[in-house]
Each structure stands twice: as structure tokens, then as C-alpha cells.
């Protein structure tokens, strides 16, 4: 997902008896679906885990602009270009909503930027894959944003108020992203044989990385169990992945495209699709920094930040000048 394998710092799930009175009161509120707001008491581990999760999510939105930004200047029509620009701008907006939500937990924007630019913070594995053809823009909207929506819709109900409200805004906009992606795929799939082959090639390359987005099975993970108890994670990784496969396979069939998984088949008994094993070795390699584009993504990010330095300084200087003038006038 946009936040993958978030650690909670706990080694076991506390029983209510083990909790301090404050912790118990907090857990009771969470159990009753009462939202937790910034100034209220919260366990330190909850606060830290949320900062990790929300900032990782925000970083993913920011880095996620790069693979798509790659095609803005080469979009096939002016309309497609305007749409892609709007989408990439939305990603920046989503990053900003999320950074603000993280800041309510006591971390500063500068710290968050520093964590991203230094490579210390993680972002989703999916954005370390290259966008080789225009069809990749379609596949990203359809599959990557589709997978993100699977996770973000339930997160609208998460226990932390600012995160939940950011998710509400994001989900409203994300639906446009997925539909525009499917629209691109539809056009290509109904186009010339070459165009259809491009769409199939994009599906071949993005299918497995999209399934990896949900992260490895967390059925045994104490971190996931803790996050679910805190209601900052609503569904297990396997649950969401299954839901995504069930939803997406008919959409691929409608396009006349083939999902690149020989083990994929409908299971009438479970009423779900069975599918093959994800190559988790590849996933761990990408997370460890060895994906196709990890270095390039970070380099581009740092370059953009450094080249924006003079703009930030100029804006500061201008604000200071105006403030000084206003002060002189008042005196």
C-alpha cells in the first residue's frame, strides 16, 4: 500500500489488564469509534506509528508524481495532457493534506522533508518502477490508484481525526484518477493491434507490482494486529489484495486483456479468484533500495528541493519586507 510494513514498536498486544488507566480509557474510546483528536492524550506508540504511517503515505504521493510526470510533455493529445497535469497536481495536494495530518502529531514539516530527502523515510515500492510507454499512465491510474483506493476507503473510518478527514478528501479525488486510467486503457485496447499490445504490455509489467503494494501477508504480524486494534489499519493485507484481484480481473476481461498469471482462476466454492504467489523477493529488493528506479527517484526529489531553495528564500524575503513596511507605516 502507500504505507507498507509500518512498525508499531510493540512486541505483543496488551490485554486491558496490563494497560494503564489512561491507556485503557484511550482504547475504550477507540473501541467505541470515538475519533482521537490532536490535543488528546494518546499512547506514545500510537503517535509514533501514526507519524510513520501518515508520512510514508505522504512521501508516496510526492514521489508518485515522478513516474506520471514523465509523460506530461509527451501525452498524446492536449486534453490528455491537461488531465494528466490535473492528476499529478492532485498527488501533490494529497501529499500536502497528509503532511498536515502528520504535523498535528508533533513532527515538523522540515523533519518530514529531511527524512524523505535523506532516504531515511520509505515510500511505496510501486513508485520505483519506470513508466516506459503512454499505456503505463493508463495502467497506473487503473491498477495503482485502484489498489490505493482499496486501502484508503476503509481508512476514512480510522481512529485519528485528521488522518480520517484527509482520507475523505483524498478518496473523493482518487476516483477520478482510477477512471481516467481505465479510460486510457479502454482507448488503447480498442485501438490498433499495436495499441492493444501496448496496453497488454503495461498490464504485464504493472500487475505484480500492484499486488505487492498491499505488502506481504500480515496474518502473523504483531504490528498489524496492534494497528488494527488502534483502528489505524482496517483490513489485513491479504484481504485487500483478494478484494483487488476480484474487482480487477473482470475489468481486464472487459478490455480483452490477459492478466499475466497462469494460476489465476475463478474458485466457485470460495467465490473468489485464486491467484499465483507474488515474488516477495522482488518486493524486498525494491524496498531495500534496489528497484529499477529507487536512486533516480530520490535524486530527482533532492534536485527539485535544492533547486527550489531560491524560491523559498525569495518568498521569505518578500514576506519580511512587506511585514517591515507594514510595521513602519503603523509606527
Amino acid at each position: 500500500m502507500y504505507a507498507q510494513m509500518v512498525k508499531t514498536g510493540v512486541d505483543h498486544i496488551q490485554s486491558k489488564e496490563e494497560m494503564s488507566p489512561e491507556e485503557r480509557a484511550f482504547q475504550d474510546r477507540v473501541d467505541q469509534n470515538i475519533k482521537i483528536e490532536p490535543k488528546e492524550w494518546m499512547p506514545e506508540a500510537y503517535r509514533k506509528t501514526l507519524i510513520r504511517q501518515i508520512s510514508q503515505h505522504a512521501h508516496s504521493e510526492i514521489i508518485g508524481m515522478q513516474p506520471e510526470g514523465n509523460w506530461i510533455t509527451r501525452a498524446p493529445t492536449l486534453e490528455r495532457k491537461a488531465i494528466l497535469l490535473a492528476k499529478v497536481q492532485d498527488e501533490a495536494g494529497h501529499g500536502l493534506y497528509l503532511y498536515c495530518a502528520a504535523e498535528t502529531l508533533g513532527v515538523s514539516r522540515d523533519e518530514l522533508m529531511e527524512q524523505l530527502n535523506s532516504g531515511k523515510a520509505k515510500y511505496s515500492s510501486i513508485f520505483n518502477y519506470p513508466t516506459l510507454t503512454w499505456a503505463d499512465i493508463g495502467a497506473i491510474g487503473w491498477l495503482v490508484d485502484g489498489a490505493a483506493i482499496m486501502n484508503q476507503v476503509p481508512l476514512q473510518r480510522c481512529s485519528y481525526g485528521p488522518y480520517s478527514r484527509a482520507m475523505v478528501r483524498i478518496c473523493k479525488e482518487e476516483s477520478f484518477h482510477q477512471r481516467q486510467g481505465y479510460d486510457i486503457m479502454t482507448k488503447l485496447a480498442r485501438g490498433t493491434p499495436e495499441q492493444k499490445a501496448m496496453a497488454q504490455d503495461a498490464l504485464n509489467r504493472w500487475w505484480w507490482p500492484s499486488l505487492m503494494m498491499f505488502g506481504p501477508s500480515d496474518a502473523e504480524s504483531v504490528h498489524s494486529a496492534q494497528s488494527m486494534r488502534w483502528k489505524i489499519k482496517i483490513n489485513s493485507n491479504d484481504e485487500l489484495r483478494q478484494k483487488f484481484v476480484d474487482q480487477t480481473v473482470p475489468q481486464a476481461e472487459y478490455l480483452g486483456l490477459t492478466v499475466p498469471d497462469p494460476d489465476l482462476k475463478w474458485n466457485a466454492e470460495s467465490e473468489h479468484y485464486d491467484f499465483g504467489e507474488v515474488d516477495w523477493n522482488e518486493f524486498y529488493q525494491v524496498v531495500a533500495g534496489n528497484g529499477p528506479c529507487n536512486r533516480q527517484r530520490l535524486r530527482t526529489r533532492v534536485k527539485a528541493y535544492e533547486e527550489g531553495q531560491w524560491v523559498r528564500e525569495a518568498a521569505d524575503a518578500y514576506a519580511a519586507k512587506k511585514a517591515a513596511r507594514a510595521k513602519a507605516k503603523a509606527a
Binding site: E37, K39, E40, A86, S108, Q309, R312, D316, A319, A323
Partner: protein, 96 residues
């Protein structure tokens, strides 16, 4: 990365249509009020969500503390006579 001076945080309020009150929608960083309004337009009104924007420095907002919620709001609990439903009006009078 030499710059370590962070822009102040602004809270953003948007009037979604004429006749409604401004409503808090989120926050952002900006060097001054003018830039805060321009940024708020880009961050919070990309789909015609508003007809007017207010920004205020987050540090200028005074807030009630969650731990004082009891003493602050409890006094209203016992004053049921402030609600119209407290009073019984004879049915034959009709709507009042």
C-alpha cells in the same frame, strides 16, 4: 539544504457557497497571508469547493483544552429548559 526556517502554519477556512459560513478545511505552510491564500486556492479548491477563503496563522488560534471539556460544557447539560421540547403546549393550540 541550508534553509531551516520553516514557514508558519496557516489554518484554512472556506465558504463553499454564498449564504453558508466559512468552514475549516485544513492547513498549510506559507511565508505570509497572501501566499497562504494562493496556496489554499491550489490545495483546497481545485474543484470549485469555495467562493471565499480565510486564512489565519495557527499560532494565533486559542483553543479550549480537551481535558477541560467537562467543566466547560457540563453546565449546559442540566439546563433542559433551554430547549423548546421542555415545554408542553396544549394540543388544541396546534403548532407553536
Amino acid at each position: 539544504m541550508t534553509d531551516k526556517k520553516e514557514w508558519p502554519l496557516w489554518e484554512v477556512f472556506i465558504r463553499s457557497q454564498h449564504g453558508l459560513a466559512h468552514r475549516h478545511v485544513g492547513s498549510l505552510h506559507a511565508p505570509d497571508a497572501e501566499m497562504a491564500i494562493m496556496n489554499a486556492r491550489d490545495v483546497y479548491t481545485r474543484r470549485n469547493e469555495g467562493v471565499s477563503i480565510w486564512v489565519v496563522r495557527a499560532s494565533d488560534i486559542a483553543a479550549s483544552s480537551p481535558s477541560e471539556k467537562g467543566p466547560l460544557f457540563d453546565p449546559a447539560n442540566s439546563k433542559v429548559y433551554r430547549h423548546p421540547t421542555f415545554y408542553e403546549i396544549p394540543e388544541e393550540l396546534g403548532h407553536m
